[in-house]
């Protein structure tokens, strides 16, 4: 059945217009802006590659590299915890234990809490003197471990990542659980009849059959890890302290574009060059993601 072009256009043009206005235009404008110095008002001054020079070899080089490494650490730990822990919890829920439905809801609840509230709550929980975390440690005789979690270089970033895991784990559990429940029960029953134990069923049947879901989630996690801003902002602020130990590319962008604290200089152009750098990292992985999804749809 052939569809007339004008009918196709009726459906495509509104979406294309929205996509162009809200995605394509800002993308290209950011790219162009990165070659200018612009305080957000008035005319833009063309500066060529100066912003990139400042970023890669100038006064922000150290901060850029530092933030980039933190994004990488963010990604690695999120993969390990959100996918690893998510898989274990999804397995538990899929095994139809008593109260699985309640556990599923409980796991997902943090995902529904607004991030500002998450930042406020965890700010209280992690208070060094009276916070819930240190009080619990003291209660179970581990008072020696109590510390200012967000105030130490060695613990601050990991703490933020753990808060992120606490908030988002439910989403990954639900997606992985859906993939597990999609496996035909016949396969698992047959394996049991053939004498396979739970360990073998998990690693030889369930994991391989849900691997494509893991691959998709891993790519999404990569993209989100390099766009992370909100959790860090909510817990350690735009200064990403202590002394930039929780700095990520998102907070570096905020400081360079909007001037950080006080009446500091604003330079949207310098900020745009940070976003171009983020884009250059994320774009190849996004293309890979689209390719894999397309491939999966073709083979389905």
């Amino acid at each position: 059945m052939s569809i007339k072009l004008r009918y196709l256009l009726v459906f495509i043009i509104p979406a294309m217009l929205l996509y162009t206005v809200f995605i394509i235009y800002p993308l290209f404008d950011s790219l162009i802006l990165s070659f200018f110095s612009w305080p957000g008002v008035g005319s833009r001054t063309f500066v060529g590659f100066k912003n990139f020079q400042t970023l890669f070899t100038g006064s922000y080089a150290k901060e850029l590299f530092n933030a980039f490494l933190h994004n990488v650490y963010f990604f690695l730990l999120l993969i390990l915890l959100e996918l690893g822990l998510g898989f274990l919890i999804a397995l538990m829920l899929a095994s139809k234990i008593k109260g699985a439905g309640v556990f599923r809801v409980i796991t997902y609840i943090p995902n529904m809490i607004p991030l500002v509230l998450v930042g406020f709550m965890w700010g209280l929980f992690l208070n060094p003197q009276v916070g819930l975390v240190n009080q619990l440690l003291k209660l179970v005789g581990l008072g020696g471990l109590a510390q200012p979690w967000l105030g130490l270089e060695n613990t601050a970033l990991t703490t933020i990542i753990l808060v992120n895991v606490w908030r988002n784990l439910g989403f990954y559990v639900l997606v992985i659980l859906a993939a597990i429940l999609d496996i035909s029960p016949d396969l698992i029953e047959a394996a049991y009849i053939d004498g396979a134990n739970n360990w073998k069923i998990t690693w030889r049947i369930i994991f391989p059959l849900t691997f494509s879901t893991f691959r998709t989630l891993a790519i999404l996690l990569f993209i989100w890890s390099f766009n992370i801003f909100d959790t860090v902002y909510a817990l350690t602020g735009v200064q990403a302290g202590p002394y930039r130990s929780t700095d990520v590319l998102g907070t570096l962008f905020y400081r360079t574009a909007f001037g950080g604290l006080g009446s500091g200089a604003v330079d949207m152009g310098l900020g745009a060059s940070v976003t171009v750098f983020i884009f250059m990292i994320v774009m190849p992985v996004s293309i890979l993601y689209v390719y894999l999804v397309e491939k999966r749809q073709r083979s389905a």
Binding site: G40, V41, P148, Q239, S263, G264, L270
Partner: protein, 413 residues
């Protein structure tokens, strides 16, 4: 044709009446809503039929929102503007988005220091509304209990801290997680220990951050950390407010804007104030004071006549009295009557007689470019020094390396 003319006339009347008497004001200060309610009521009682529509936005989003709105013609009549020098306000003035008010408003009740922060090329852009006074706020009950006196030298301050610590009281509460509070601490210590003359020399390039005197300030602060609460690097200013208000700590390095919160949390708290003491008694102590901002007329103004009336009122001591009564902040306009509170009276006295004319934090040239002394040096640098990862000498070098990149008087020093 007649019908058309009538229609146009009715439309014009509707448009005019929609704006008549209404003045829109944007701010980052939520606490000022009551101030404007009171002003509106007062003006109406005097026969001025002006309705004030006040909207406060989150401080972190405020500047972007104002920039965008003014450029697209959707901004308000009046905005709260940031002080000068500073890129944010200057760029709005240069692009004609803030209008000069010098010809409309009588500014005789403002000291020149305040007007300097709103003046650009001999024109005044906004009516200054509040000044902030920072220094050491202390719990008077603890000072009385342990027979302590307000210190007149740095050594006396340390001795007081020692007495408090020996008696099981945390001498200082420091919000190490929020780097801006540490930069403020450095700045307020700097004006007294280094003195305005040294900061003037720094500004003119006669000395630089590598001067041993600057390193000495770093060292004194680093040595003082043994008197801060345990785990201070993980605390925020919200924690500080609660801890100080409920008597869990004796002193805080903070600003007068915190006083209202402490009193709200604990009306019985007995607060005192002193400037950071200098090294010796023959040095004059100075307070770090700065203009918080101004009430500015925008190019988007739709109701010019009433907006000017509002601005005229903001320049009177009557405005200052209402403002101070609601917010417990020090109004920028002189001649106001402050609430009968010794802390506010002292802050006002300090602002009048001990304000340092030269500073290196908020309101200084060192924060107007990147890398900034505020954002890029003292914020991470103070945290790093307190964590033991940077020496006092290292912090001085960090400052010199950063500022000498763009500030001509300090280049090649």
């Amino acid at each position: 044709m007649k019908k058309k003319i009538l229609l146009v006339a009715v439309m014009a009347l509707l448009v005019v009446s929609a704006f008549a008497g209404k003045v829109t004001i944007w701010s980052w200060r939520t606490q000022d809503a009551e101030v404007w309610q009171k002003i509106e009521a007062l003006l109406k009682s005097r026969g001025q039929d002006i309705t004030i529509e006040f909207t406060a936005y989150a401080p972190t989003e405020y500047d972007s929102k104002v920039n965008l709105a003014l450029q697209t013609g959707t901004g308000p009549d009046i905005v709260y503007s940031r002080r000068l020098p500073g890129g944010r306000t200057q760029v709005l003035i240069e692009n004609g988005l803030y209008l000069p008010i010098s010809d409309h408003v009588d500014l005789t009740y403002f000291p020149q220091a305040s007007l300097n922060s709103v003046t650009w090329e001999n024109k005044v852009y906004g009516v200054p509304f509040a000044v902030q006074v920072v220094g050491i706020y202390y719990n008077k009950d603890y000072y009385d209990q342990f027979d302590l006196k307000e210190p007149t030298t740095w050594d006396e301050l340390v001795a007081n801290a020692e007495v408090l610590k020996k008696n099981g009281i945390d001498p200082f509460f420091v919000s190490g997680k929020e780097a801006w509070t540490l930069t403020m601490q450095h700045a307020m210590v700097g004006v007294s220990i280094l003195g305005p003359e040294w900061i003037k020399d720094l500004t003119e390039g006669k000395t630089n951050f590598l001067d041993p005197k600057f390193t000495d300030v770093n060292k004194r602060l680093n040595d003082l950390k043994i008197y801060y609460q345990n785990g201070f690097m993980g605390n925020s200013s919200v924690d500080q407010d609660a801890s100080f208000a409920f008597g869990q700590t004796a002193m805080v390095f903070y600003g007068v804007w915190g006083y209202q919160t402490w009193k709200q949390l604990n009306p019985d708290i007995n607060v005192g104030y002193f400037m950071v003491p200098p090294i010796t008694t023959d040095q004059k102590p100075y307070a770090y004071t700065y203009l918080d901002g101004a009430i500015a007329l925008t190019s988007n103004v739709k109701n010019m006549e009433d907006s000017i009336e509002i601005l005229k009122f903001c320049a009177t001591p009557e405005f200052g009295t209402i403002f101070a009564g609601v917010t417990y902040n020090i109004p920028a306009v002189t001649g106001s009557t402050l609430p009968p509170d010794p802390v506010l009276q002292e802050a006002l006295e300090v602002y009048s007689n001990h304000a340092s004319p030269y500073v290196y934090w908020v309101g200084s040239v060192f924060t107007t470019q990147k890398p900034s002394l505020y954002d890029d040096v003292l914020s991470p640098g103070m945290q790093e020094m307190y964590a033991g990862k940077l020496t006092p000498e290292g912090l001085s070098k960090m400052a010199q390396d950063a500022i000498s990149q763009w500030y001509p008087p300090l280049m090649n020093k």
